[in-house]
């Protein structure tokens, strides 16, 4: 069920969120990402909402937690493929103050590279 949840390329973690993102599934995702963060360098994260139809405050907590992790490396968190239902809860949550909303995964990847080019290494 949690298969093919992640893609990692060029220090970008692409996370395909499940149908329902609650305390239960957020816990499973957090465990898997903790393992990834422990053994790989991750600078940016893209949360892909294309399959997601439900999210509650536990999902907000999951994204805020990952945001704190990538901020150490001055990376960003992206939210992509947001549907109407998800848009409502995301805007109420205030997550857009810290996460960048874009239409597609490709648009987010492009933005990562743009920002990395501008960033002094």
């Amino acid at each position: 069920m949690m298969k093919d949840l992640f893609e990692l390329r060029d220090e970008i973690l692409i996370l395909h969120l499940p149908d329902e993102l609650d305390h239960h599934t957020a816990g499973e995702i957090r465990e898997s990402t903790d393992d990834l963060f422990a053994c790989k360098k991750i600078r940016d994260i893209i949360f892909d909402y294309s399959s997601t139809t439900f999210m509650d405050s536990s999902g907000i907590g999951l994204i805020m937690g990952r945001y704190r992790e990538v901020r150490y490396l001055k990376g960003n968190v992206y939210l992509v493929n947001i549907s109407g239902d998800m848009e409502r809860i995301l805007s109420i949550s205030g997550l857009y103050r810290v996460a960048i909303k874009l239409d597609t995964i490709d648009a987010a990847i492009k933005d990562v590279y743009n920002k990395r080019d501008k960033r002094p290494v």
Binding site: D22, H23, H24, A26, F54, D56, S57, I60, G61, D85
Partner: protein
């Protein structure tokens, strides 16, 4: 028997796997009021928040039972989520947006704020070592009328 009055009660173990069951069963029961998709989404989120609170805070991820009662009276849904957990020490503080007693568990502190935002009324009663009762109320179809009025 009045078709517009209806009651349902369900009780289940305090495990995170039951969160989706809880919100789906309430949504299914409320469906006969012919709610909009948005109203159903609101109710599912609010139920999910209350049940998650009971699991994490009420029972602190230990064993316990959670009860959900749902009353429908005319077009009003009342949902009562009860646990017999540790209780909330300071309800006012717990209800402040962004406050969480468990930041280490990556709680966003938005649970009660979402319940308030998505339901019309929210009451929380709690007793230390006694448990917590969360009562939420929502009128179904209210916004539809409002939209109709705006359109006319």
């Amino acid at each position: 028997m009045d078709n517009n009055n209806n009651y349902m009660s369900v009780e289940f173990d305090s495990i995170s796997n039951n969160e989706s069951f809880a919100r789906v069963v309430v949504a299914a029961f409320v469906a006969r009021l012919n709610p909009t998709l948005m109203e159903i989404a609101d109710i599912k989120t609010a139920v999910s928040e209350a049940v998650t609170n009971s699991i994490i805070h009420g029972y602190e991820n230990k064993e316990g039972r959670i009860k959900i009662e749902t009353h429908i009276v005319e077009d009003t849904v009342t949902i009562i989520v009860t646990d017999n957990g540790v209780g909330i020490e300071n309800i006012e503080r717990a209800m402040e947006p962004m406050y969480t007693s468990k930041p280490e568990l990556e709680r966003s502190g938005m649970g009660f704020a979402f319940m308030e935002a998505f339901m019309d009324e929210l009451f929380v009663e709690s007793e230390m070592s006694g448990g917590t009762v969360v009562t939420m109320r929502k009128v179904i179809g209210k916004n539809n009328e409002k939209w109709d009025e705006e359109l006319n």
